[in-house]
Amino acid sequence: MIISKHLLGLEGVSRKEISLILKTAQSFKEVLARPIPKVPTLRGKTIVNLFYESSTRTRFSFELAQKRLSADNLNFTASGSSVAKGETLKDTVRNLEAMKIDMVVIRHPASGAPHFLARHIDASVINAGDGQHEHPTQALLDLMTLQEKRDKIRGLKVALIGDIAHSRVARSNIYGLKTMGAEVAVCGPTTLLPREVEQWDIEIFTRIDDAIRWADVLNVLRLQLERQESGLIPSVREYAARFGITRARLAAARKDILIMHPGPMNRGIEIESDLADSESSVILDQVTNGVAVRMAVLYLKSGGEQVLESTLEAEA
């Protein structure tokens, strides 16, 4: 089995490779529970976190994963850097590469920025969210959480709720879930469903109650408040009334339904506040698993393109 050098998205990533990442992540979860939750594996490797967009959870999660693996890391944020002086992405990275770095974790508002990077440098590139395209490590941690809570992903009915059109989380989740054999649905206002949705071979709901009755899992996406200004929804209040997930609505759901949210939450808009803290919610498990999944990805990509020992193939 060949492991690719970069993680740019989940589109086209094989079931075997996703399974390998999830298994490896389970091992790292055990590392995180140790008295000293740190291993020397990536000692001497240098990783740059290039964040052209604000992020708390993802950036901390990657940073923590790097520290737990004993890698050295450099953190770059667009504000207060040479980008503010007009440097292009290509030049920034060429300069970083001249400093001998091994991996780049990039978040960028432009879709495809990580792919551009991967074409221009030798280091491994990990996509931490690019525009409206993909956010693969988020989908992987969602998959890991599902696997933990429901044992297997195959056959699970997962509904993604909200702004599908602008969501990289949704896109990566759809690719990952379908590869792993889950049934996928999307539900949201028609203005927030992407045009290509009908080609994806997934369920489409425009009424939230239908999605709730159908689903084993609801993955509730964040409503970007600027969507109202662009006229895609009449008002945030109306969105909350028609698509917000509430306890009252969940009365029609199966008893053991799981509620996920990639964060940051708008409590009281896409999700009722106390529901986010309820026993159905696995939102904090997602965050914990995020560190383990990112350790797995960094570990597996750290050697560049790799051939994995044959023992795995027998088990996979």
């Binding site: 055990e30 000293i36 020397p40 990536l42 570990y299 750290s302 050697g303 051939v307 994995l308 020992e309």
Partner: protein
């Protein structure tokens, strides 16, 4: 990988192996004057079934079963990022506190000593054991680090191009210790 290798000599058959494990178990309880404070940690892959067998023998002798821990040393290897073939990371499971315990570290073959070095580093991250002792089935030559076994089943010198292969039920289809050609080893 298991079927491709070319067996040159059999050093131990299943019965020999069983007797050797019994002797090692006796030596371990003799040296430690019983099993109090004793825990066993098997190094993946074949250190684990070997540790299980030692535990069975020890409990026959002393009527008390030492706890078993499983250690995967992949993350502590010194050649991890140099090898083209990346070993698969598996789970470590040490379900007890090792502080102030006597840890018997178990592996099938002691060769360069690098695995044991990695295992000791890993154990230190779990706590501060009173002692670590090393038990191996085969002690072969060509050490690269100053590490020796406290309990060893058999000492073997191996020629160029040869490898020691231990087989244990639970992982393999038979029990035994063999000398094989190392040519097809990756």
């Amino acid at each position: 990988m298991k079927t491709r290798e070319n067996i040159k000599t059999e050093i131990m058959d299943g019965k020999d192996l069983d007797r050797t494990v019994a002797r090692l178990a006796h030596e371990i309880v003799e040296r430690n004057r019983g099993t109090e404070n004793l825990v066993m940690v098997g190094i993946r892959t074949r250190g684990v079934p070997l540790a299980e067998r030692l535990i069975d023998k020890i409990s026959e002798i002393e009527n008390r079963k030492p706890a078993l821990g499983i250690l995967d040393i992949t993350l502590y290897r010194d050649d991890l990022l140099k090898k083209m073939k990346q070993p698969r990371l598996q789970q470590t499971d040490i379900p007890f506190d090792i502080d102030d315990k006597v840890v018997i570290l178990v592996d099938d073959v002691l060769f360069t000593g690098r695995t044991v070095r990695a295992a000791m580093d890993a154990l230190m991250d779990f706590g501060r054991p009173a002692k670590i002792q090393l038990a191996v089935l085969v002690d072969r030559d060509q050490r690269e680090l100053p590490i020796n076994a406290d309990f060893s089943g058999i000492k073997v010198t191996v020629g160029a191009g040869e490898e020691i292969r231990v087989k244990l039920h639970g992982v393999d289809d038979c029990d035994g210790v063999f000398v094989v050609d190392s040519a097809n080893e990756g």
